[in-house]
Structure formats: structure tokens, C-alpha cells
């Protein structure tokens, strides 16, 4: 399979590239690269506009990807809205749903493990809608195992309008019980937004089974090109929402005085969309479906189990998050005692190993853990046990070089 990923042919510092940063963005297989190139080369025209052949072909291809996305997450195509990325999808909800529904006295529940993308838009919304009232944001904490502490959930849910929660943490790797949370939230009439940026690329996600109201993810983390994200909104909610950006492509009739808007999903997709990006995402979904999402998950679970075992044998290495691979995605954040994460990442880079270091856009969870950053490895379909062996070898070497004279 690795022959499908041209970037992996590269040498970094004379070593074969070991790419362990798929949680940031995934590599792209040649099938996706080709689909984008082929679209640009042979049929790209604007969508929903022209009545000539190329435009119709572009429109068909573009809309067929909506169908592929819908199938992937068990939704209906008209519930699938294309955005720029996860971040834009969340901002869209915060704006069109939030501004109409979050008023003085409304409460939102978040968790301490949220990515800044699922935190800052809500902070901003609360700031604008309910000036200065901090009590309105309820934060779910984690326990010692790095799992959500849901012990007091029933109480916390009282009077809540929205629960915004990540499906899989991009730091701890924790897979959260979003289905159970949704059931409880719905009992008190709260809606649920799930940030699936680290879930959809790696496991089977069924939005109907989860029961949530909004589900968001990014194409670039699942083999697709950058610049395409997905917002799934339950039909009956989408129909009632006002549009997001306004302009061309999202209207049904316009006079100089007033405009009637198109139906969902088009009313949320103003302007020319990222057509070739969407086409690329379609090819990425084809690639993943051919492998099978269950296989993808199995592969990553095996890698995670192996990595957890190997890493935990390194003296002075602390792993954050659950200890069992069933409870986590293929993401492992850790620290080596006495060595700054940036130095770990720079030294791994010398061995051709690409990892992330710092806060991974999730400062609150690092503050909660009492650490000033971490080093993170994350896996995908192209990673192997050998990659983990190389990582462990390189970490041992770094320790030998830097751990003398540790205070």
C-alpha cells in the first residue's frame, strides 16, 4: 500500500521518511492526487452554473461526493454541507445556530480536552451573546485515566442548550462515549455537536447511531486535499437555520430588494466551492471504503497496542491518556523526562521521523495535565510496526545523548 503514497519515497536526512503526524494532516495517495489532477486537466468548470457539458459533469461529480460522504457516515446527502475544514464547520454552527439559540442564561457544555477549534468559537459566541457571564460554560473534566469524567453529567446537563464535544481527543487519543452523552443531552432538550476530526478518518462513524445533531470533520485528515471540511446537520434542524455567508450559489430568487434562499445544503455553501478539493475527497473516501473502515481501525489499534507496549518500556517516558488501545484512537502524546518536546521533535526529525510537538492546539488539556507541551505521534493506514521500532530506537538514542547530567 505504501507505494500509493509518493511522499513516502522521500529521504529525510538520508533516512526513509517515517510519518507519524497524521493527526495534523494525512498523506495523500496517488489516487487522490490523480483525481484532483484529472478534474483540473479534463473537466473542471463551475458547478451549479453552466448548462454546457463540462459544467454538468463537474456538478455531477461534485454532488456525487456529497453522496459518498453521506454514505460514509450513514446520512442523507442533503444533510451534508461542504465547508473549508472542521474549524469553519464549527464556526458556522456557532453563528447560524448559536446566535439564534444562545441567549442570556443559556448554557453550553464543553470538555477540557477540546481542540481550540471546538472551544474558541463557543467562547466568542458566549462573549457576544451573554456579556461577562462566565457561569454559562460548563466544562467536563477528565479523570486520572484520561477519560471524560461523566459522574455528574445529569446534574451538569440541567438547563443546557448545547453540548460540544470531541469524538476522539487529538492529545489523549480518548474515544468519548458520544452516543451515551447524546442520549442524556436529548433528555433535557440540549443539542449535541460532535467534533469528529480525529474519528471519521480512522473508524466507522454512523451519525444515526450516535444520534447527535451536528457532526464535523476535515477531509485533509482522511487522505483528501486541504480546504474541504464537512458539516453534517440533521435535516429538520438545517431547514430551520438561517444561511451562513450570503451571495451567489445559495439563492433561489434575487431582486434588488430581497432574496429567497435555496434549501439546505446549498444555502450554506455561498460562492464557488472548492470543486477539485471535493473531487479529491471523493477519491479519498473511495480509497478508504475499499480498505474498509473496520480494517483501518483494526490496523491502527494493533499499531497503538504495540506502540503503547514499546513506549512504556522507555525509562522516564510518560504517556498521557488511556492505557488500553480499545479506548483510544491511534494518537499517543508523551514526554521524556528532562527533555523539551521541541528538542525531541527536532532530534527525531534528524532520523527522518516526523512528529508533532507543543500543545497541538489544545492548551487547556495540557494545563489540566500540568505540562508545558508534549510530543505526539499519530498513526494511519501507511504506518507499520517497523515505524514504531524506528521511533523507539531513535527515542532511546535521544535519551542517551541528552539524559546525561539531567538535573
Amino acid at each position: 500500500m505504501n507505494k500509493d503514497f509518493p511522499i513516502l519515497k522521500q529521504k529525510i536526512n538520508g533516512k526513509n521518511l517515517v510519518y507519524l503526524d497524521s493527526a495534523a494532516t494525512s498523506l495523500k495517495p496517488k489516487q487522490v492526487i490523480e483525481a484532483v489532477a484529472d478534474c483540473c486537466r479534463s473537466y473542471l468548470a463551475n458547478v451549479h452554473r453552466g448548462i454546457y457539458q463540462l459544467s454538468e459533469k463537474s456538478t455531477q461529480e461534485y454532488e456525487s461526493v456529497r453522496g459518498k460522504v453521506a454514505k460514509l457516515i450513514n446520512a442523507s446527502p442533503d444533510e451534508v454541507i461542504f465547508t473549508k475544514n472542521t474549524t469553519e464547520a464549527i464556526n458556522l454552527v456557532a453563528k447560524v445556530w448559536g446566535e439564534a439559540n444562545i441567549t442570556k442564561g443559556s448554557k453550553i457544555i464543553l470538555s477540557v480536552m477540546e481542540h481550540h477549534s471546538n472551544l474558541v468559537p463557543w467562547q466568542e459566541l458566549m462573549r457576544q451573546q451573554v456579556t461577562g457571564n462566565r457561569q454559562q460554560r460548563v466544562v467536563l473534566d477528565i479523570n486520572d485515566k484520561g477519560e471524560l469524567d461523566l459522574s455528574d453529567l445529569d446534574n451538569k446537563l440541567k438547563g443546557v442548550s448545547l453540548v460540544a464535544i470531541t469524538h476522539v481527543s487529538n492529545v489523549l487519543g480518548t474515544i468519548n462515549p458520544v452516543k451515551e452523552i447524546t442520549q442524556k443531552a436529548h433528555q433535557v432538550g440540549a443539542l449535541v455537536l460532535v467534533d469528529g476530526a480525529q474519528a471519521v478518518p480512522h473508524m466507522k462513524v454512523d451519525v444515526k447511531k450516535l444520534g447527535c445533531d451536528f457532526y464535523v470533520f476535515s477531509g485533509h485528515k482522511m487522505l483528501g486535499p486541504s480546504g474541504v471540511g464537512v458539516l453534517w446537520v440533521k435535516k429538520e434542524i438545517a431547514d430551520k437555520l438561517p444561511p451562513f455567508l450570503t451571495g451567489g450559489g445559495m439563492v433561489s430568487e434575487v431582486t434588488l430588494e430581497k432574496t429567497s434562499f435555496a434549501e439546505a445544503p446549498h444555502k450554506f455553501e455561498a460562492g464557488t466551492p472548492n470543486i477539485e478539493g471535493v473531487i479529491g475527497l471523493g477519491a479519498a473516501i473511495d480509497y478508504l471504503q475499499k480498505l474498509g473502515m473496520d480494517k483501518v481501525r483494526q490496523h491502527e489499534k494493533a499499531l497503538t497496542e504495540y506502540a503503547l507496549k514499546k513506549l512504556s518500556k522507555i525509562d522516564g517516558l510518560t504517556i498521557y491518556g488511556p492505557k488500553e488501545e480499545e479506548k483510544r484512537g491511534g494518537i499517543i502524546a508523551f514526554n521524556l523526562a528532562g527533555i523539551h518536546p521541541h528538542d525531541v521533535a527536532s532530534l527525531l526529525d534528524k532520523d527522518g521521523i516526523a512528529v508533532r510537538a507543543g500543545f497541538h492546539c489544545a492548551m487547556p488539556v495540557h494545563q489540566r495535565l500540568g505540562i508545558n507541551g508534549s510530543t505526539r505521534v499519530s498513526f494511519y493506514i501507511y504506518n507499520s510496526m517497523e515505524d514504531i521500532d524506528k521511533l523507539v530506537q531513535s527515542l532511546e538514542k535521544i535519551k542517551r545523548k541528552l539524559s546525561f547530567r539531567v538535573k
Binding site: G14, H340, S346, F359
Partner: protein, 128 residues
């Protein structure tokens, strides 16, 4: 990409200054003290300087950080103490820091290296 000219954090000078700096600490009554944060990682660095009649008489730095930011801060403080003359120190620039470190830096790590210089420049703005 080749290994030639790439960053080597394990050179003795980086290790020595980054881990066991002789200039780490805080001054009792500094003429100025400035604290800065690295926007990339949030690490913070403090530089204390005591000045008498346009001459630096003492300087040191504190804070936790990566090897590069710590080594650069240590080497820069060492250079300040060697040069002493305030007008000359005011002319320190990015090149000064890169020369002191003596290793090439990747783009993202340049920020770490320049944190102490930025602190120094900020200090000059508040020196009476």
C-alpha cells in the same frame, strides 16, 4: 533533504549552555527585567540586567524552555557580559545570535533561538 548543514542539538556548546548555563538566575536589583513568551510553544524567558553608567555590570536569565532557547539565552547573556558597553550591545542582531549558536536552524526553531534577543531589544526600550 540531506544531513549536511542541518541542525545539531547535540553539539557540546548547545548541551552545555542549554542545560548547565553559568548565567542562569535572577538579579537582586536589576536595572531592567523583561519577560517574553515564545508564541510557538508558550515557553517563557526572563532576562535581568544591571547597568551602571552605560556599562552592563551583571546579567542573567531564567525560565524553562527547549535546548535552543536556553542555549541561545545563555550564550547571549555571556556575550553581553563580555562586551559590557551598552551602545555596542544595542547593535546585537539576529546574526549575533546565530553566530554564537554556531549551528544552522530550521525555520520553526529560529523563533526559539531569537527569544532572548527579542527580550533584550524590549529591555532597551525600557532602560531609563
Amino acid at each position: 533533504m540531506t544531513e549536511e548543514g542541518t541542525m545539531d542539538l547535540t553539539q557540546e556548546i548547545i548541551l552545555q549552555h542549554g542545560r548547565l548555563s553559568p548565567y542562569k538566575g535572577k538579579l537582586e536589583n536589576p536595572t531592567v527585567k523583561v519577560k517574553l513568551e515564545n508564541p510557538l510553544c508558550g515557553d517563557s524567558l526572563r532576562v535581568d540586567i544591571r547597568i551602571v553608567k552605560d556599562q552592563v555590570v551583571d546579567a542573567c536569565f531564567s525560565g524553562e524552555g527547549c535546548l535552543i532557547s536556553q542555549a541561545a539565552a545563555s550564550l547571549l547573556v555571556g556575550e553581553i557580559l563580555r562586551v559590557k558597553n551598552l551602545n555596542k550591545i544595542k547593535k546585537f542582531n539576529e546574526e549575533t545570535v546565530f553566530k554564537l549558536l554556531g549551528i544552522s536552524l530550521t525555520l520553526s526553531r529560529t523563533q526559539c533561538a531569537l527569544l532572548s534577543l527579542r527580550a533584550l531589544k524590549k529591555a532597551f526600550k525600557i532602560i531609563p
